[in-house]
Amino acid sequence: MIEVMEQTELYLGAEITRGPAWSTERRQSARKRFRELGVPHGRQESWRFTNPRKITALEAVPAAAEGVANLTAERVAEYLLPDTAWSLVFDNGIFRADLSSRDGMPEGVHIEPLASGEPAELGDIENSHAFTTLNDAMWTDGVSVRVDDGVVVEGLIQFIFTGDGDGGTPAVHTRNLIKLGAGAKLNLVESYRGRGVYWTNAVTDVDLGENAELTHFFQQLESEQACHTSRFRVTQSPASTLNTHNLLIGGDLARRDIDIALVGEGAHAGIDGLYVVHDTQLSDMHITVDHAVPECTSEQYIKGILDNKSRGVFCGRVIVAQDAQKTDARQTNRNLLLSDDAHVNTMPQLEIYADDVKCAHGATTGQLDRDALFYLQSRGVDEVAARDLLLFAFANELIDRLPSEGIREHAEAFLEHRFHSARQLGE
């Protein structure tokens, strides 16, 4: 195990200067801040249940600037969702124009790789979340999306980010920026896929204009040897709507941080999450919804299925500011443990400083309902099929809420495969 100091420098990759010139100054101050913050460790409250040792043990180094060029059109075809109209593909953080398809994009939609596009406003560097600060310093590329006021995009846009551990353990720092103008509408998919050992550290920033509507599907199907950390930050203007659906299946250690700032009255944020883990996987979701102004609504609905020696961590926080009256915030976390070695830590937290609000949260952890299993068996369904059926029913509540038929089918197939292989291992 290498020392913390060395680890910090390893992540910063000596004095690498990459990326567009407009980002250089910002990168330099982020490097400085990351050195001050250091690499997170298990004694910090926000990493208490998710020891980042699995990430540091990878000793991942910044992904090579020239890329590996291993990604083939066949694999991309496999990763594409049936409904996808346009796609942008990145391999180890490098844009692959040859594998992407951007033809026929409607007027008023500006999509380009962040590194080679117009200078972008990335905001202040992250001050406390070290891996985001590291991303500030080290991002190689990602997507920049701007949708003009009133533009409604019907088709589905999919971003595919792949990690490839072939020839070394790369740290892939992806940066996305999504800006929707007033009244704009967009359907977006972020897919994280890969093979071998690598570390994905992605940051996606979203800015929703007045009345804008973003439907977002986050699909984390990383390799099971890889580590994944991602941050999703959203700022919502008045009456804007966000619906984000998160499917977390891959990664040896996967942590997703979602931070929603409701800064415009009447905004709504819906956050769904489903994590399905087995073996020694760890899946962590940290969600913060900040109700800064009155009359906003939010709903978090997170479910987890844990088998073998896997671990699940959920930390949901709702903050209601003093003047944020008429807030309606809901938060639910349900976990299903399939093995005595599986372990769940859940912390549904409310911090409320206003009195005229409706806030509720609930968390449950349990096993498959014996009565339901018995009922199915008494109707002639064998035990294995009955178990599959109940598992599927548990997950289906969230699958049903996914934004399109194609996405639903894809997710169903993936889960079926997972439950099936778990069953075969069990036999």
């Binding site: 409250e45 003093q322 003047d323 009256q325 976990n335 443990l337 399939l338 093995s339 005595d340 070695d341 599986a342 372990h343 769940v344 830590n345 859940t346 912390m347 549904p348 937290q349 409310l350 911090e351 409320i352 400083y353 206003a354 009195d355 005229d356 609000v357 409706k358 806030c359 509720a360 949260h361 609930g362 968390a363 449950t364 952890t365 349990g366 096993q367």
Partner: protein, 478 residues
């Protein structure tokens, strides 16, 4: 409505007065000599002095916790006097008649007629005035049954073997900063031992009262219920008005041996400070019970006082089929800050726990529930149900919920529910329309909100709790 609220909020603390009794008090400061001196005053055996000194050296290495959701200026532990006793310690009153009349008057002002209560309600009272027990009643009656109910110092003299066996068996010396401090400097407290199979015929009760200015109060309570026994213990607190913050770091340990039942009820009404947050008690308490097979530990608390409350009555459900319960009403008004909750650690098979927590925030109060439910791997069939409800009165207060749930097996079931709401205008309207005034209406609604907890309290406490809440609410209506 807001004018009424403003007026009601200004209501002063009713129990603010100072009893002038000469006290034997150590000068402020804390070092090994002070600890030796406390130990010597108490006439403790050598092992106890050593134990205290060891705790002190551990405490010096520890850091004051900063994770609770509370803010207060740093406490200067060298500015506190660690011992204060009413005069004539060598000449302690043997019965109620001999108790200093000024002291009895103090209890009268608090509305706790000691002798009357003792006789009428059948309550034996071990009155703790500052740090030394002044009166212990009904001792003989309890003695017949083999029940030991006495001050901690007496227990150290008369039953050192029991104390040695169970002291710090539930809350280890190094458990936390305040527990370690308590181990080093605690001056007195209560000790209860219920022999095998004995059902204690009356509610045991201690009234705490912090009196001497800038005297830290460090109480130690140890309750041991032997196999198959049963006991209900009441603890009630109220303190006079002070400008200087007073530190209170008590430790309560409960040991429920196989088949035993312990019910521990608290009504805490210490001085909460004034509107600007000046004065008030700092209440940093460690309470924990260890439950062996088939035993039951039940904590019920009504917390309306203190400027800062840091308190997590917990159950270690060690034996199979043991049961832990936590019922709490916590009120934060004025500038009070409460960070309170419980821990339920399920170790044995088929262990069950219930948590009902009701938080009421008013004025500029901040009320946080912080709880841990941990189901260990071997706790097959464990069951937990948690319900945390918060009521907000006014728009400058806060209600927070920080539950930690840690589950490590598949046969257990854990449920957590929480809600936050305010008193609805239509409820108030309904009550007022039926001829109740604003104050009565709010009181009625809040009492309804807390009903699930109040009904767990022993009869006499339930009455007091209801009254207390009504009084505290007068300053918290919205």
């Amino acid at each position: 409505m807001s004018a009424e609220i403003a007026e009601l909020t200004k209501k002063e603390y009713e129990h603010g007065f100072v009893t002038e009794i000469e006290s034997e008090t150590l000068p402020p400061g804390l070092d090994e000599d002070v600890i030796r001196k406390i130990s010597a005053i108490k006439g403790e055996p050598a092992w106890m002095t050593e134990w205290r000194l060891k705790a002190f050296s551990q405490w010096q290495k520890m850091k004051e916790p900063d994770w609770p959701h509370v803010n207060y200026p740093p406490v200067d532990y060298q500015a506190i006097s660690y011992y204060s006793a009413p005069k004539r310690p060598e000449d302690r009153p043997q019965s109620l008649d001999e108790v200093d009349p000024v002291l009895l008057e103090t209890y009268e002002k608090l509305g706790i007629p000691l002798h009357e209560r003792a006789k009428l309600a059948g309550v034996a009272v071990d009155a703790v005035f500052d740090s030394v027990s002044v009166a212990t009643t009904f001792k003989d009656k309890l003695h017949e049954l083999g029940i030991i109910f006495c001050s901690f110092s007496e227990a150290l003299r008369e039953h050192p073997e029991l104390v040695k066996k169970y002291l710090a068996s539930v809350v280890p010396v190094t458990d936390n900063f305040f527990a370690a401090l308590n181990c080093a400097v605690f001056t007195d407290g209560s000790f209860v031992y219920i022999p095998k199979g004995v059902k204690c015929p009356m509610e045991l009760s201690t009234y705490f009262r912090i009196n001497e200015a800038s005297t830290g109060q460090f109480e130690r309570t140890l309750i041991v219920a032997d196999e198959g026994s049963e006991v209900s213990y009441l603890e009630g607190c109220t303190a006079p008005m002070r400008d200087e913050n007073q530190l209170h770091a008590a430790v309560v340990e409960l040991v429920a041996l196989p088949g035993a039942r312990i019910k521990y009820s608290t009504v805490q009404n210490w001085y909460p400070g004034d509107e600007e947050g000046r004065g008030g008690i700092y209440n940093f308490v460690t309470k924990r019970g260890k439950a062996y097979e088939n035993s039951r530990i039940s904590w019920t608390q009504v917390e309306t006082g203190s400027a800062i409350t840091w308190k997590y009555p917990s159950c270690i459900l060690y034996g199979d089929n043991s049961v832990g319960e936590f019922y709490s009403v916590a009120l934060a008004n004025l500038r009070q800050q409460a960070d309170t909750g419980t821990k339920m650690i399920h170790i044995g098979k088929n262990t069950r726990s219930t948590i009902i927590s009701k938080g009421i925030s008013a004025g500029k109060g901040q009320n946080a529930y912080r709880g841990l439910v941990q189901i260990m791997k071997n706790a097959e069939g464990a069951r937990n149900y948690t319900q945390c409800d918060s009521l907000l009165i006014g728009d400058k207060c806060g209600a927070h919920t920080f539950p930690y749930i840690d589950v490590r097996n598949t046969t257990s079931q854990v449920e957590h529910e929480a809600s936050t709401s305010k008193i609805a205008e239509d409820q108030l309207f309904f009550c007022q329309q039926r001829g109740m005034d604003m104050e009565e209406s709010v009181s009625l609604i809040v009492n309804g909100f807390c009903k699930e907890v109040f009904r767990e309290l022993p009869m006499e406490f339930a009455v007091e709790a209801g009254k207390l809440l009504a009084v505290s609410l007068e300053g918290s209506v919205g």
